[in-house]
Symmetry: C2
């Protein structure tokens, strides 16, 4: 369907280069052999976050182990924009959507934060990492975003480097047109976005975020977006104004 030499694309931790052999792990081998029904000689694209994207040929396909003979490079590694997403996790399905879409939209790291109105005790970091990996394979990214464990909002803010430009999605703000704000940011190569939980940030949280130097609040229009929708919107805007959609 696509003008590309593969329809199967996998992340592997191994080094990639011409004539190297890569062993797929058990989960991937099951997927390749049983779910996707590939056979010896079929092609697969591989990426590892360092060496770009490579094409390889499947050898010794078995549901427990597969070998890939790496042949040629399709694309060199490119840098993704350095965008860190601080988000308040919500219900399981919506958190999954945030991980998936934020990966497609090119975040470098996902930092779930505990806010006063966050209620997500059972956040599964391993599950989120898997969702990010699957989204990266699907969207043709050349690396994986880093998935962090839940920490408090104040800790996450304190951990941001001072020269990282923070975009604060403040749903109850009027004015602060995103076009105006995002067009006139100080020059930067490191960004972060912070979005709130269902029900919004508490007043003290808004003050705390706003008090951080190098923080720029934007409004996302007159309708009240759901927490996950605000993430999708803000990331799209940052990519269009400052990231790799420019």
């Amino acid at each position: 369907m696509f003008p590309k030499p593969y329809s199967l694309r996998l992340y592997v931790p191994s080094d990639l280069g011409a004539d190297l052999g890569v062993v797929l792990d058990k989960g991937q081998s099951h997927y390749v052999a049983t779910v996707m029904r590939r056979r010896d000689g079929d092609k697969v694209a591989l990426f590892n976050g360092r060496d770009g994207e490579w094409i390889g040929q499947l050898q010794e396909v078995h549901k427990n182990h597969c070998l890939v003979h790496v042949t040629e490079q399709l694309r060199p590694q490119i840098e993704e924009p350095d965008i860190e997403l601080l988000f308040a996790p919500i219900k399981k399905i919506q958190t999954g959507l945030i991980v998936q879409k934020a990966t497609e939209l090119g975040v470098a790291s996902l930092q779930p934060v505990q806010t006063q109105r966050t209620n997500a005790e059972r956040l599964r970091e391993d599950k989120m990492a898997l969702q990010a990996l699957e989204a990266a394979e699907q969207c043709e990214r050349l690396n994986l975003p880093t998935v962090h464990g839940l920490i408090k909002l104040e800790q996450a803010l304190a951990a941001l480097e001072p020269d990282r430009t923070l975009i604060f999605c403040n749903e109850r703000l009027s004015g602060n047109s995103p076009k105006e704000v995002l067009s006139n940011l100080p020059s930067s190569e490191k960004w972060a976005i912070v979005t709130g939980p269902e029900g919004g940030f508490a007043d003290e949280e808004i003050e705390m975020i706003s008090a951080r130097p190098n923080t720029h609040a934007i409004s996302l229009g007159p309708r009240i977006l759901r927490a996950e929708t605000a993430v999708f919107a803000c990331l799209s805007l940052l990519q269009a104004f400052q990231g790799d959609w420019v």
Copy 2:
């Protein structure tokens, strides 16, 4: 939690004005009485797409019928931007997400289109209308988007007024930075967006869309977005550059 005088907000078809009585239908009455456990005297916000947003008091709360005594106007009616979304429906869950998020992001109408690679025979127009209504109630919109039935892509394109500016999200395009394109559109008050199915548009479809006058293609970056993600991204960008987020 919010600084607003209600936490329940409903769309009603009836006229709204001071001292009018509004009868809620059976579904809404069940929701109000049984799900939300409201009682006589509790407040509810109402909107009808014409008269702005009003606050009223519940009277005679019953699971089959409720009466609302409308008291005062909270907000006058405002115009939403005139944005029509042409989208290829995908799996049920994703189509539901598109309807919900597009409503939050302020589309005026939703037009599902049949493309060569669309496979959605059982599209439920009534279900989509309900999803749009619920999203409108939740996001504090003052009207509902119009939900249309599935038609062929060529019919949908032919039905667009010639002076409606069409934004074409072409996933396999490089260049055509959205910032560049959306900043330099001819002045317009009517927009449409067209996004493709999983697997993308066929070559003839790309030609057909591109051949329409007043059509502007944008790329959404180097990663391949899922069909629904492209909708969220493109709508956010159009609102930020030309719509009511400006």
